[in-house]
Symmetry: C2
Subunit: 211 residues, 2 copies
DNA sequence: ATTGTAAAAGAACGAATGTTCATTTATAAA
DNA sequence: TTTATAAATGAACATTCGTTCTTTTACAAT
């Protein structure tokens, strides 16, 4: 056989991405063979090379697509917020909901960095730092105007991101909690970790309820 | 050549563990070959089988040793504390210092679970749950007596452990902060995330200063 | 209708994988 | 001093790996 009825480059490439994403997330990049990706896509391993030059290129594509999507989504969402307290509230909710909707992509983004060859690594790492910079800036502004009482902004940034991203290790759809219940809990914990007072937070909650 | 001058089973096995630990942490279980482990140990790959029956057995040995060591160390350390506030303070400091001293082991313990075959996985997972149970109990007791204001104890447990374990992704010896400076910051953030009031925490700090 | 190209199959490549085996030598016990 | 065993080597095993190549067929444009 050869070219298959109804086959289209873009469609197949998307199916390859989806297949690779799920396999990498479940078994790890190194443990997944091109034959396995091909099988899940429904084509032979050799046909993968019509869409991606190497296995490594598939991984880089997945990570880069994920990070660029994340950055774009937050840049849009962040327009809504005008104070550090609003922004932190929004960031926590955004991070949780965005990441819970993309558990596989998040997983490989944090786990497969070491499987990237140098060029890919620096590209992805730069995007990650950029994202962390958003939260750091929120914390810095909040510290400057007295909303947050925090000793070390870079550390607080990493602590909160780790706390949030860790949700992916235990959260299950149709589990005990819904995504928005989880958001509620983590918003409270994030503000607490920055020693932000009750009254200020309640003002945000009130504004949210009115809007 | 054959048996090497001065070779001893226990000594070699320990060197194999050390070599595998470093390689697994840096490259991932699947990406490390038995030949690479052998080379780093200073023996041939085939000689590894005098000490471990399979590659998988090396991984299980490393994970199990790490978790059992962690549990034993906390069970000893925890004897020192008699209130939830003392215990949380102690747990945070213990977790950070223990994990920062064993970065490679921690890394593979959280990253290579998916590379475990089922029998090994349940063994290790049980030990992890057991460790998480210690923190959960501290939080539950603190909630019961009013020290901590927390909505969901299991979630708070996972959030704090994720926050603490995430330190390993960015902390570097001889970096900007010392291990004990990091402890200080995270103790404060952990208490904050549980809405524990200043006065109570300061009592602990005072007691610590006196002792 | 013809033609150029895109997308697939399937065989094949050399290299690397985890593991086994026969063999050799050091060590410890009798 | 002899003997059993522990610890190593090095060759070899069948598989699997990522990738390349040739060939076949579907599709789009002329």
């Amino acid at each position: 056989m050869a070219r298959t009825f109804g086959s289209s480059g873009e469609v197949t490439a998307a199916r390859v991405r989806a297949a690779a994403l799920e396999l990498f997330a479940n078994q790890g990049y190194a443990a997944v063979s091109m034959r396995a990706i091909g099988a899940k896509t429904g084509i032979q391993a050799s046909a993968l090379y019509n869409h991606f030059p190497t296995k490594q290129a598939i991984l880089v594509d997945l990570l880069e697509t994920h990070m660029l999507g994340l950055l774009a989504a937050w840049e849009a969402e962040s327009q809504k917020f005008h104070t550090p307290i609003e922004a932190l509230d929004g960031f926590v909710r955004f991070h949780i909901s965005y990441h819970l909707d993309r558990q596989d992509a998040v997983f490989i983004s944090y786990m497969e960095l070491r499987n990237l060859e140098p060029e890919g690594f620096v590209r992805i790492e730069k995007l990650r730092k950029y994202y962390e910079g958003f939260l750091r800036k929120i914390i810095s502004l909040g510290k400057a105007n007295g909303d947050f009482l925090v000793d070390d902004e870079p550390v607080a940034t990493m602590a909160i991101i780790a706390m949030l991203t860790g949700i992916n290790t235990w959260f299950r759809n149709n589990g005990r909690l819904t995504s928005s219940e989880v958001e509620e809990i983590y918003v409270k914990m994030a503000f607490g970790s920055l020693e932000c007072q009750y009254e200020q937070r309640n003002a945000v909650a009130k504004a949210r309820a009115i809007a």
